[in-house]
Amino acid sequence: MIQIKNITKSFPSVVALNDVSLEIQDRSFYGLLGPNGAGKTTMMNLLIGYLQPDKGELLIGGQKQTPENLNLRKNIGFVPQTIALYDDVSAQTNLEIFGSFFDIKTNILKERIDEQLNAVGLFERRKDLVKTYSGGMKRRLNIAASMLHNPEYLLCDEPTVGVDPQSRNAIFDLLQKLNSEGKTIIYTTHYMEEAERLCDKIAIIDSGKIIAEGTLGELVEKLPYDEAIIITKNKQTIQHRNSLNDFGVILDHDDHFELKPNNGIPLSKFFEKIEHLGIGYQSVELHKPTLEALFLHLTGRTLRD
């Protein structure tokens, strides 16, 4: 279990984390979702012992994390937000170097390296210099380099930034497999789709504060409505506004109507009506209860602001 207790961390110009407390159960896939500058990386840097908190403490598997507690690091794998690899040597050499600091017997390390290279699909290219790799390949190697010592906890700081969809899916599969094998994963991201797809528990962080925490279901329940249909205002939609009253409550906004559907009305009926009225589909948008909507609801901003 990872316990984050009342952590505050300030930099000269900003309070990066403000009294943050979280508890992360073993074997969970825990998401830390927030926009850029929210404090995600700062939290990771505290968890690996690179930074020290101003207040509060961090316990990993019951042990206190400090810059001096080197032994604890053998239990932690860390995937930095940047591609933390040596560009001028091969993937193989990178893994040999990063694996050499964990007191692993040479022959076992060799096996682990092959295993990790296979796991991220880079075994064939292991002899090539890293600088010849695509962004996605580097990202995958970035993860492999963190798993050589077979740690119990894996901390991933936005591991898919700038990655092609194929590599992204490969990374998701890899992490889900690791989680199913029993690893505890902490995963930071500013993509709500990633958090929704991967994480069984999510904390939403903004400006150094946790603004919501729970499972995906628990989080969306915090939204005051389930679903909404947004209808862009134009000549046709304004003209036919009242024909849609049967479907639910319509709220008037500056440039759109917001339809809160009545319970039990099938969407198919609604779309039939739209078609019948000659309203183009492009002026109709379905809002599902998402983390994005929750974030918007809680902060008044979108995640990508």
Partner: protein
């Protein structure tokens, strides 16, 4: 310690993989040293065989001895004859010598007139004609001629004195004064008064039978007896001096480059990855330090061995002591590189400042030309540089072949500089800008 060694191994693996760094560390210095070696002529400093047309119209003994002295000077080639139109070899006269220079066949002409040492003049008089197209050569030639003539002045000095006193006091009282001075001098220096009053009668030549009378007394007053006391076995003095200086400069460049690898590691996030492993910041710093010192020692030893192969520098007779001073130099240079890494924020900053500091330290410290050529206030700053004390140590070891005791001050000063610089760097590192 195990982690530090693993980190050092890491540094070497990356260094060997970096072909550019390898080339800059080992190949480029060799090429540059070879070029400079060729430019400066390898074996000896100074010019050889500057062509000087020479006419001696005087029969005085002093003219003869100037001629002899110039004849034996390696730097000038004295031309006394030339082939005229009818291809008959003839002696120069002052006209033909001048023409010879105008044609460009000789760099200058030196004419010793019949009245080189006249009764009325205070000193020697010669004529010198030159072609100013090669200014430096001319300066050297003038220097050599002046030096040669000056070396003969000792013999003339008493005669000139006597002539001057007679001129000012009149023949009678002047003569009296001279005789009394001669008596006084002969009493103090135990020389024959005759020798003082009429030295040219017997003093110039052939001292074999008059040794007891010390006929060379006056010449001895000024003569500079040149004997090379140290470095007698140094086969290649120029190279011995300068290879050390160049090597130090290259070393500083290498170590500045590799100390700033920390910036690249920080930028890429590798530092985070390392620190997320069971590695502490201080271990990373130590590994960089150890790697740089060992790389520095390897580079310096390599360059000295290249110096041995190319210029015959005697590195082996005193190799152990050379290794000691090399290690001290590498430690000091590493401290310098680490300080740059501590104060700068980016590789670009560090290499900019590094280049500026290294070039000024190298020139002031004597890597390019001897410190003794520099103005005194600059020489003060020379002694503040790592280069100065390292080069001084190299020369002590290679030139004088001294033992460990004599280089202890150099080692002490270098390690002292290193310690001081390190303290400053550690304070700066602790502020946490770097990592």
């Amino acid at each position: 310690m195990k982690q530090i060694l693993r980190l050092v191994v890491k540094e070497y693996r990356l260094f060997i993989a970096d072909k550019v760094a390898l080339g800059l560390t080992f190949i480029v210095p060799v090429i540059l040293t070879a070029i400079f070696g060729a430019v400066f002529g390898g074996t000896s400093a100074g010019p050889r065989g500057i062509r000087l047309a020479f006419v001696n119209e005087s029969s005085s003994p002093i003219a003869t001895s100037i001629e002899e002295a110039l004849d034996t000077t390696k730097a000038v080639r004295l031309l006394k004859t030339f082939r005229g139109e009818n291809t008959i070899e003839q002696k120069f006269d002052s006209l033909s010598a001048k023409e010879y220079v105008q044609k460009g066949s000789a760099s200058a002409a030196l004419i010793i007139p019949a009245d080189i040492f006249s009764d009325t003049s205070l000193g020697l008089k010669v004529k010198f004609f030159y072609d100013p197209k090669n200014d430096i050569e001319m300066q050297m030639l003038k220097g050599i001629v002046q030096r040669t003539m000056y070396s003969q002045l000792g013999n003339l000095f008493p005669q000139m004195m006597q002539k001057q006193t007679e001129k000012f006091l009149g023949a009678d009282s002047g003569g009296l004064f001279n005789r009394e001075m001669a008596l006084l001098i002969s009493e103090y220096f135990e020389v024959d008064t005759n020798l003082i009053l009429h030295p040219n009668l017997m003093a110039w030549r052939d001292s074999s039978e008059t040794t007891s009378d010390r006929p060379d007394f006056f010449a001895d007053l000024i003569r500079i007896d040149e004997t090379q006391l140290v470095g007698q076995k140094v086969t290649n003095p120029w190279a011995t001096r300068s290879v050390g200086g160049w090597a130090m400069m290259f070393l500083l460049f290498t170590l500045t480059g590799s100390a700033t690898s920390l910036f690249d590691e920080k930028k890429s996030g590798v530092v985070l990855r390392l620190l997320a492993s069971p590695i502490s910041r201080i271990q990373i710093l130590w590994s960089k330090y150890l790697f740089n010192v060992s790389l520095g020692v390897v580079q310096l030893v390599f360059l000295f061995i290249v110096g041995w192969l190319m210029f015959d520098i005697n590195v082996f007779p005193n190799f152990f002591n050379l290794l000691l001073i090399i290690t001290a130099a590498a430690i000091a240079c590493t401290a310098f590189g680490m300080m740059l890494a501590a104060f700068c924020r980016t590789t670009q900053q560090a290499s900019g400042w590094g280049t500026l500091l290294i070039l000024s330290m190298s020139s002031i410290g004597g890597a390019w030309f001897p410190v003794s050529f520099m103005p005194e206030y600059i020489q003060f700053f020379s002694k503040l540089t790592i280069i100065y004390w390292s080069m001084d140590g190299f020369l002590e070891v290679l030139w004088r072949g001294v033992g460990i005791l004599s280089i202890l001050p150099n080692i002490g000063i270098l390690l002292g500089i290193a310690a001081l610089v390190n303290v400053v760097s550690v304070i700066q590192f602790k502020k946490g800008h770097v990592f």
